[in-house]
Structure formats: structure tokens, C-alpha cells
């Protein structure tokens, strides 16, 4: 059975939704971060792919495109010891606190 990413030929009656969503800032940043890490030779396209393709099926299908990128980014960076999960958790709380006090 093919992996969840390997979708060519899977039967579906779904029409193609041709509307484009407006990119949000975090999506630009996610894409740009991968670009900057590529420039620093800390991450390449194949690693990005591996991180995306390793996402469990249900999560893969429930995630948006850049949510998958983001998850892969975290996988690769934590694997390499560039960042730790705990550091990211802490930073998320810090950002939430900052947004809270600004709003």
C-alpha cells in the first residue's frame, strides 16, 4: 500500500477546488525559513520531503499544506539538535503571552 503522500490514482469523485487562499504571514515565514535553512545548508528538499512523508496518515490528511511543512521543519530541526521540542513549547507560551498583552 502506498504512503499517504503517494496519491496518484487514488479514486475520488471530488471536484478540483480552483480557489486560491490568501497566504498568511506564518505561511510565508514557514516557507522562507526552509529557504534560509537551505541557504545555510542545514536542511534540503529531500529532508523536507522525508519529514512531510513521515507524518501519520490521519494528521497528513487533516493538515494544511504549510502545516505539513511546519511539522517537517520541527522534525528535522529537533532531529539535528538545532532546536528542542521544549524550547519551541516555551517560545509558543511566550508568544501567546505577548499577543495576549498586546490585544
Amino acid at each position: 500500500m502506498p504512503g499517504v503522500h503517494d496519491r496518484g490514482g487514488w479514486p475520488t469523485d471530488e471536484m478540483i477546488d480552483r480557489s486560491d487562499h490568501i497566504w498568511t504571514d506564518w505561511e510565508y515565514k514557514t516557507h522562507a525559513l526552509v529557504g534560509a535553512l537551505r541557504f545555510r545548508e542545514l536542511m534540503n528538499t529531500d529532508e523536507l520531503r522525508r519529514g512531510i512523508e513521515a507524518i501519520p496518515s490521519e494528521d497528513y490528511e487533516a493538515s494544511s499544506y504549510y502545516e505539513r511543512w511546519s511539522r517537517s521543519l520541527e522534525t528535522i530541526l529537533t532531529e539535528k539538535g538545532v532546536l528542542s521540542t521544549e524550547e519551541i513549547d516555551t517560545k509558543v507560551k511566550e508568544l501567546e503571552g505577548r499577543w495576549e498583552s498586546d490585544s
Binding site: S19, D20, W26, T30, H31, A32, A36, T45, Y66, E100
Partner: protein
């Protein structure tokens, strides 16, 4: 970081204008983790803010108008067209376009007998160095799943009804190999300049889900 609130509208092109980038509401957990990684990586000096900004600008630098110039040039210059089909990287470089170093590009030519359509069943590989980022539908499950088994029905949804006499070739991209369709030059365009021809070349015609526009600006089916 020069800003901690992300109101960096200045780096977003005019076509992306929209009221208020929402930061603190309706951000998914994943979005928050991306923003956290962004701030951490810059704080730690793993990447610089400038490098991220450069990458972000690069992402917006190319649009389908760039690919259209390449196609129009190929329509008016048979020698360029041959070079484009033989070695796309070198040919587009002549026009000032550099392809990402890790992905080869093949240009596939539509003729009166053969029509190509491009998909990436695995993800979203796309000739972004010439067209900019792919449209959402190119990355959708429906497009990735259906195009390789029912390309004519997919093209029909885009308004292109191909004669059964025309052979359809679906090309499936990968991270290492990307494709750009060289559409057939529309009839009745002999008197047009290269620039006017480029206006007929749509993004979708370079993916192959449609044909270019007619000189009257209508989609050719």
C-alpha cells in the same frame, strides 16, 4: 527581530493586500510553532532575519508572467525553442532566469497531436523558478489523485475539451525533475509582437490544464 508583531505588510505584494494579518486569533497550533521556530532560529543566530527576508522575497519574485516570456520567445525564435527543449536550464538562463540548483527542468511541447499536462502526485513540485509558487489546486488531493487517471476529465473542469485524436501525456514531477509545458502557439497570431504573445500565455496553459488564450483573449478549447 525588527518587529515582534509580524505586521510586515510591506513585504507582501499588492496582489496580496488584505485587511489585517491576524496574528493572535485563529492561529493553529502548527502556525504558532512555526512562528516560535522562526523567532528561536533568529535569536540563536542559526539564520539571520535578512536571510529569511531574502528567502521570502525570492518566493514572490517570480510570477507566471516570467514563464510566459520564455514561451513567447520560443514561439518567435525557433532556435531558442530548440535550445529550450534540449537544455531548459541553459536556455532560460539566456533570458536571465536561474533555476534552483537541485531540480532539473524539462520543457514539454504541445503540438496538434500531443497535449501534455503536469502534476505532482507526491506533493507539489512545480517550476517555481519560472512561475512562482503553485496555485492551491495544484497541491490539492483531488488534482494529485485524478490527473494521472482521468486527465481529460480534469482538463474539462478547467474548460478544455480535447479531441480524442489528441494524445494526452501526463508528466509527474518530482523534487529532482520539474516540467513546464510549451503550449502550441494560437492560430491567428502571426502579426503579434513577442510581448503581445506573452499576454496570451496563462499560468494554467504552462501547467497544461488549459490552452493559451486566443488573440481575442478567449480560452482556446
Amino acid at each position: 527581530m525588527s518587529e515582534d508583531h509580524g505586521h510586515d505588510h510591506a513585504e507582501i505584494g499588492p496582489e496580496d493586500e488584505h485587511p489585517g494579518l491576524q496574528w493572535d486569533v485563529s492561529l493553529s497550533e502548527r502556525a504558532k510553532r512555526s512562528l516560535a521556530m522562526h523567532e528561536l532560529l533568529i535569536e540563536k543566530g542559526v539564520v539571520t532575519n535578512e536571510e529569511v527576508e531574502t528567502a521570502s522575497n525570492n518566493l514572490r519574485r517570480r510570477t507566471p508572467a516570467d514563464g510566459a516570456k520564455v514561451v513567447a520567445k520560443a514561439w518567435v525564435d525557433p532556435e531558442f525553442k530548440q535550445r529550450l527543449l534540449d537544455d531548459a536550464r541553459a536556455a532560460v538562463y539566456e533570458l536571465g532566469y536561474s533555476l534552483a540548483h537541485d531540480a532539473e527542468l524539462s520543457v514539454v511541447e504541445n503540438t496538434e497531436d500531443v497535449h501534455h499536462v503536469v502534476v505532482c502526485t507526491l506533493c507539489s513540485c512545480y517550476p517555481s523558478s519560472l512561475l512562482g509558487p503553485p496555485p492551491d489546486w495544484y497541491k490539492s488531493f483531488a488534482y494529485r489523485q485524478r490527473t494521472v487517471i482521468e486527465p481529460r476529465s480534469v482538463m474539462r473542469e478547467f474548460g478544455l475539451e480535447l479531441s480524442q485524436d489528441i494524445q494526452v501525456r501526463v508528466v509527474d514531477s518530482s523534487a529532482d525533475q520539474r516540467y513546464l509545458v510549451l503550449p502550441e502557439r494560437p492560430a491567428g497570431t502571426d502579426g503579434l509582437t513577442e510581448e503581445q504573445l506573452a499576454d496570451l500565455v496563462t499560468r494554467d496553459s504552462m501547467i497544461g490544464v488549459t490552452n493559451p488564450l486566443s488573440p481575442e483573449g478567449a480560452p482556446i478549447s
